[in-house]
């Protein structure tokens, strides 16, 4: 029994976490008693202990479950656990609740955790729609409502869209480039375990004195400076989610640069790999800025630094500049991996090469560069220097060009193809439709006089949901259905998948389409109560949103039942050329028996006898030969 409490895992975490509270109490007592009453009025303060605990407890949880074991042993010179690969692969569901260094296990952990937070965040959204169904107060007070939309956005951005892309890529990216794993498997495991920490922290803010953080996911200072302690849960939750993002992005960059199979030049990489390369560049450059913005707020709150206190020389607008310097690139962090998924799905399901492959890759890089030059378009009405609006409006309009190139190239890929209109393809085509609308409203928002009217209204709510739901989430669904056979070894139910698509597509447009009109008509966002003239449209939207919620249940049912009892998936059900389809479903523990050799482009559909990669059969074992041989059959049979 004692060994259980010493070995890495939840038992060890359970006694280490209270140590964090003890440490926080001790540290704050020490600081307060040594500086005296003049600065701090009490020796012990609940807020101070809670703030330090929110840093110490999660770190000790990570120590407890074993996220740092290897490095700790190495640092103090004790023998490190020899890498016998015993931690690779998942043999039972329990293995998904351990620190595991297998990229495929981590990919599943990431994806499932993210979808859990999608359901929670979506449910919170439905609570908001219930409150908004009629003007006046129905179910929740203003404080709770403000908490609901703040947590809704924070969970769906930091705990769903960003990590679910990292999860899907974690699973398929090493397979796609012919690598046995990610470059830093232990860092990969740690970056996953930071996620539930961030999510639990944001959710538990509802139980904090004064309620959840209620200043929006944007957390504008000085409102957030003086908010109740719930705000600290956001400031610190973002640090954990951000650290996770940065670690994963570094891991992807190193993996892509150093671990591509022989023959895989950059221009033979599948576009999903290109997309994650571009995204990872954005993440490592931009994410420290949001970390900084929240540290500024934390220092203002906890220690009175007055960064954003105008009465003491603080600069209120500086918060917004630092915040948006991350948070605008963040919308590309939340979209580029989706572009990658859609490129895979459309090429395979149209049975054609991607039209203009190089332009597709270059446009990703163009978006990375331009993405850093547009942040102040979120601040056209902020009171910043007026001239900044002009260059930012121009770059905002121009960044639509590389995005347009991608849309037109996908359309050209469809042209004269042999279209398999199954669930992943339907979501990809649905994405093209709704994302085009989101892109168009985005271009409209670049026009300063128009933006001045609709800034911070429901028009913005509509726009962001067309981009993040109609854009990102559609691609995520496409990707989940597309790689479901590879990840689980089972086929999903096609009929339910189609039902899921059509209900989602219709109710999505009914929910978020009318919000454009509400905003133009003058309804502000982030209000629990609104003028009577907006009542009819709001009731309509609320009803549609419940339909959207129900459509998600179809998805959950399909995923759960198919994973448990779906038909066994063949290695390559879609006749894809990329490497992940050349191995069994689910893939063997080390992906490839021999590192494959890449001999051609990833999308040579329609080219007679085209092969992307050759999986050399292992001469020693007969079983491995059969597996690898089966993988190459589709390519050669054409």
């Amino acid at each position: 029994m004692a060994a259980k409490f010493r070995a890495p895992g939840f038992y060890r975490a359970s006694w280490m976490m209270p140590l964090g509270v003890a440490f926080a109490t001790g540290l704050t007592w020490l600081v307060r008693s040594s500086t005296g009453h003049a600065t701090f009025h009490h020796y012990l303060s609940g807020e101070a202990i809670l703030t330090v605990s929110l840093i110490a407890v999660p770190l000790l949880f990570l120590v407890g479950i074993g996220g740092f074991d290897y490095w700790f042993y190495w640092a103090i010179g004790r023998p490190t656990r020899p890498e016998d690969h015993s931690s690779h692969g998942a043999h039972s569901w329990r293995d998904y609740f351990r620190v595991n260094t297998d990229h495929k296990v981590i990919g599943v952990q990431y994806t499932v955790t993210s979808f859990f937070f999608l359901l929670v965040g979506g449910l919170i959204g439905l609570l908001m729609r219930a409150e908004l169904a009629q003007p006046g107060a129905q179910f929740v007070d203003a404080n709770t409502y403000n908490g609901l939309f703040s947590v809704h956005a924070s969970l769906l951005i930091f705990l769903f869209v960003i990590p679910v892309f990292a999860g899907l890529a974690n699973f398929v990216l090493p397979l796609m480039i012919g690598a046995p794993d990610m470059a830093f498997p232990r860092l990969n495991a740690l970056s996953y375990w930071l996620l539930p920490v961030a999510g639990v922290m944001m959710l538990s803010s509802f139980f904090a004195p004064g309620g959840a953080f209620a200043d929006g996911w944007t957390a504008y200072a000085p409102l957030s400076d003086n908010a109740p302690i719930g705000q600290t849960f956001f400031s610190l939750g973002v640090q954990f989610a951000g650290a996770s993002s940065i670690m994963t992005a570094l891991n992807f960059l190193v993996t892509i640069i150093t671990m591509r199979a022989p023959g895989m030049s950059f221009f033979r990489m599948p576009l999903l790999v290109w997309a994650n390369f571009a995204t990872s560049l954005l993440v490592v450059i931009a994410t420290p800025f949001i970390a900084a913005s929240q540290f500024f707020v934390l220092l203002d709150r906890a220690l009175g630094f007055n960064f954003f206190n105008a009465n003491h020389g603080g600069d209120v607008l500086m918060y917004q500049h630092v915040f948006w310097f991350y948070s605008h690139p963040a919308v590309y962090i939340m979209m580029l991996p989706g572009f990658g998924i859609v490129s895979e799905v459309i090429a395979v399901k149209s049975r054609k090469p991607i039209f203009g492959y190089r332009m597709m890759a270059f446009s990703l890089l163009a978006i990375v560069v331009l993405g850093f030059t547009v942040w102040a378009h979120h601040m056209f009405t902020s009171g910043m220097a007026a001239w900044i609006r002009i260059p930012m409006a121009i770059t905002t309009a121009i960044i639509a060009v590389p995005t347009g190139i991608k849309i037109f190239s996908w359309l050209a890929t469809l042209w004269r193809g042999v279209l398999h209109l199954d669930t992943p393809m339907l979501f990809a085509l649905g994405f093209l439709t709704t994302f085009t609308l989101g892109g168009i409203s985005g271009v409209m928002l670049a026009m300063i006089p128009f933006d001045i009217h609709v800034s911070a209204t429901y028009f913005i709510v509509a726009h962001i949901h067309y981009v993040l739901f109609g854009g990102s989430l559609m691609t995520i669904f496409a990707g989940v259905y597309y790689w479901f056979p590879k990840m689980t070894g089972r086929m999903y139910d096609e009929r339910l998948g189609k039902w899921h698509f059509w209900t989602t597509f219709i109710f999505f447009n009914l929910t978020f389409g009318p919000m454009h009109v509400l905003g133009l008509q003058g309804m502000p966002r982030r209000v629990a109560d609104y003028a009577a003239k907006f009542a009819d449209l709001n009731l309509f939207i609320s009803i549609a949103s419940f339909g959207l919620g129900l459509s998600t249940l179809v998805f959950v049912y399909n995923m759960v039942t198919s994973w448990r009892g779906g038909a066994r998936a063949p290695g390559n059900p879609w006749r894809g050329l990329t490497l992940e389809w050349q191995v069994s479903s689910p893939p063997p523990i080390f992906n490839f028996d021999r590192i494959p050799t890449i001999v051609g482009g990833p999308y040579e559909y329609g080219v007679p006898g085209a092969v992307h990669g050759i999986l050399a059969p292992t001469p020693t074992t007969a079983g491995a030969t059969a597996t690898a041989g089966a993988g190459t059959v589709p390519a050669t049979s054409e």
Binding site: N146, F355, I440, H453, Y605
Partner: protein, 260 residues
Amino acid sequence: MSKQRPLVLTIVAALIATAIGIALGYTIHWFPVGASTQATNTDRLYHVLIDASVPIFVLVVTVILYSAWQFRMKPGEELKDGPPIHGNTRLEVVWTAIPALILLGLVSYSFVVLNDNEKKPAGVPEIQIGVTGQQFIWSYEYPSSVTGGKPLNSDQLYIPMGDTVYFNMRSKDVIHAFWIPAFRLQDDVVPGITTHYRATPDRLGTYPVVCNLLCGLGHSTMRSAVHVVPPAQFQAWLKSQASTAAGSTPGASASSGTTG
């Protein structure tokens, strides 16, 4: 000939859809009634944007629907592949250059509108009114240049029709946004700095003033109204407010009349 038929049909349908979309853009009442020259300009910009957007959206949807109709896999084609077309440089240049030109054109036009909206109109008198935001009320200061006597503080916003109004906005606590949907104008009201905008009302009436930046618990109740009145009525209102203020104790705000 029969092979061309679906394509011709689709192009005709797309043109009709474009026409309907643009017509709808003009018939739907997107905005609340406009009450300033800026609103007229901004609404015109919006309609130009709709006119430019509808054909692009119709083009994308048409290609998707046509492909799903004409190129979907038919029975027996399960193992068939499409033609291995890798790209077309001329086409790619076209769909890079044309959108870039359209976007630069639109953004240039928006700068013209912005300049029209923000410049001081020639030959129109301009008055300055101070706006103060604090959780969760708006208050207004009419300087002596407007009142002709002592400066006046009020929780009501009256502005004369025919003048240009230049708002000087300050915040006492957190960021607010001073939004007048009928004017299509807003700007944040930021602690530590003074922000400004200029409105030229051109329609009599009373219109909502909305705080449009989350400022705390009472954010959704932080409302006021702007009364656009004829100049004579404006002067009369100023006089009545001045006498009310003089009648109450010095230093109290105009709203203290209710407590007296």
